[in-house]
Amino acid sequence: MSILLEVLYLLVFPGFLFLIAYALFIEYVDRKLYARFQHRVGPPILQPFADIIKLLSKEDLVPKKADRKMVSAIPLFAFAAVITAFLYIPIWFNQSFFSFQGDLIVVLYLLSIPTLALFLAGWHSSNPFSQVGAMRAITQLFAYEVPFFLVLLGPAIIADSWSIIDIVNFQSSNFWLILMMPLGFIVAVIALQGKLERIPFDIPDAETEIVGGLLVEYVGRRLALFRMAIDIEMVVGAALISALFLGGFDAFISVAGLSPLAQFGIGFAAFLVKTLFIVFLLASIRALFARLRIDQMVTFCFKWLAPLSIIQLLLITGVKYMGWF
């Protein structure tokens, strides 16, 4: 692959520019759906974009007691991690420039970084509210990460590969893995909701309790970076789940004889539809429930999500052992 193509790939599509645009669009879809569920009008399509522009133009403030370097660096870490994670997720046919055996593990690790960054951000702002938020974020991390990792192992075991593209190819030649692991899909979506810190798991930034928690001292462009990072995290999370459970770019159409452009078109359309479907699920969960308390959240994860994901994993290993796949 030529250097030029690689740069184009990284910076324009599906890298930096596309990802930002799509993340803002996803935020719009999420907010609009949430609003319509509540009988509200909801924001216009460019609202998330306008929000980011507004934040970028705001005054830059760092608390006196906080460490300026840390406070500035942390959002960059979160942002870089989620953007990198997206490179390993295939969004059209046989697009695997960066893929290698084990990229699933890398994506999972990269997806944990935003939460850790949020924790550090909250801790370093030296504000009681954000420190309580930071403690909650880290407590919550251990609760949802376990089931999330466990259920995402399932597809890898079935497809006999640690590479996401292999798992997707396995699905297009066999069947979508959601048919085999509906339980795993549900657990993954719920855990993703926790990862994104949204209702009912928006405990670290519960606005009525700790005034926005983690990011309470963040303003201006640093806050904008964090917001972008969380939006992109949502895209990556949705894309990952759709790749592992919903067959990724597979659209039930044989693409063998088609031109590369048509292949790309079909795969990309499937990617959009599936990620939007997962965002729809996430928005519904957000509209349906009340916020849990941190102890209830942890109990819920270890009492329900973790056992369910272990059952799922055992079933999968059983199937594999019997040699059915």
Binding site: Q38, P128, I203, T208, A287, F289, A290
Partner: protein
């Protein structure tokens, strides 16, 4: 884990009005709540002594933005009693209809706020949308959405005509249907239940000891409803039930309020259907003979008390207002102890605090309005205050 002191308020998103709770917490558990009020004191009791009874009606209405009608009703019924005036039944019925409409809009507002405090924003949006029905009815009859100016010494100021009656009944039917849906949500939605069940426990004996009032007391199983115990306005003729619940937690208070909504629809329907004919008010003398009176009413938040001492002139000698929120503060502190930080907003909201009602005085210099600080001074003052506290 070390003890952290968390300041909540005077400005805090969980509090719609200024109050200060300083919390000593260990991790997520509250060790000691310390309460400080007085940020919203406007000197209404003192101001009442300088105004005539008629002027005071409108001042009383502004004690609270949400329960405005009940304040003016309490004042005028005190004045009427001092004058030994017989009020036309139609006037009393209209006053009752407004008292109940106000209870509906207050309880719906509360339900929305409570849902918001536990992060259940969908219910919040739904209830506040439906609250518009009752707000429109209030506006239809009185012309105002909050301070209705319906009361006067001797009766009410506006009548209800046939068309308005029809609209009232229609609105009540619509609200009744919606409220039944909310009852279903509030008693079955699992995450909402998790946040309200067993939270903010106030045992019956403790509630009794600390003199809780209103839905807070009724949610702990105390049967205390001034409308039944000491009937005023037209409550002696209208059939209704005093709702209590033995759950003793936030859920109990929610159940009480939601069921009271259903009772309120019944009361309004009865009152509209049985509205007596005749006058709506009687002319009253301006000067009120020397005497003293206690006027009790059941505000949406609990028992409201006015003590009025007259001195033979057209101005009162002394007016003492005791609002339900102040009476519920000791119970709320009790509920917060040993709870979680995450539960503060809902526990606090569960008593439906109305700080504006509670405080009632701040000093504003009439000549040059100068009891204000600039931003920098306020910031420095705040930092210093908390450093001293720590």
């Amino acid at each position: 884990m070390a003890e952290i002191t968390i300041p909540i308020g005077p400005q805090h998103p969980a509090l719609k009005e200024p109050i200060n709770i300083t919390l000593k917490v260990e991790g997520e558990v509250i060790v000691e709540p310390i309460l400080r009020i007085g940020y919203n004191h406007r000197g209404i009791e003192k101001a009442m002594e300088a105004r005539s009874y008629i002027q005071n009606i409108y001042l009383a209405e502004r004690v609270c933005g949400i329960c405005s009608h009940v304040h003016s009703s309490t004042l005028v019924q005190g004045a009427e009693e001092l004058l030994e005036l017989e009020i036309p039944r139609r006037g009393l019925y209209i006053r009752t209809i407004f008292l109940e409409l106000e209870r509906i809009h207050s309880h719906l507002l509360w339900l929305g706020v409570a849902a918001h405090e536990v992060g259940f924003d969908t219910l919040f949006m739904y209830t506040w949308r439906d609250r518009e029905i009752v707000m429109d009815l209030l506006e239809l009859i009185s012309g105002n959405r909050v301070n209705y100016a319906m009361n006067t010494v001797g009766g009410t100021r506006r009548d209800i005509n046939d068309e308005q009656k029809k609209k009232l009944l229609k609105g009540m039917d619509a609200l009744e249907e919606r409220t039944k849906y909310y009852v279903k949500i509030a008693t079955t939605e699992p995450t909402f239940l998790k946040r309200v069940e067993g939270v903010g426990i106030l045992k019956k004996e403790v509630a009794k000891k600390l003199c809780a009032v209103g839905p807070t007391a009724r949610g702990s199983g105390l049967r205390m409803d001034i409308r039944k115990d000491d009937p005023y306005a037209a409550y002696d003729e209208i059939p209704f039930e005093a709702i209590t619940s033995d759950l003793c937690d936030v859920m109990g208070r929610t159940v009480v309020r939601v069921k009271e909504l259903l009772e309120a629809y019944k009361i309004i329907k009865y009152a509209v259907n049985n509205l007596p004919a005749g006058e709506i008010r009687k002319k009253a003398r301006r000067k009120i003979p020397e005497n003293e009176i206690l006027s009790y009413t059941e505000a949406p938040r609990g028992e409201l008390l006015y003590y009025i001492k007259s001195n033979g002139t057209e101005k009162p000698e002394r007016v003492k207002i005791r609002t339900p929120t102040l009476a519920n503060i000791p119970s709320t502190i009790e509920m917060l102890k040993g709870g979680y930080i995450a539960d503060i907003p809902i526990v606090f909201a569960a008593m439906d605090p109305c700080i504006a009602c509670m405080d009632r005085v701040i000093l504003v210099d009439k000549k040059n309005n100068e009891r204000s600080m600039n931003w920098e001074a306020l910031r420095r003052y705040g930092i210093k205050w908390y450093e001293v506290k720590r």
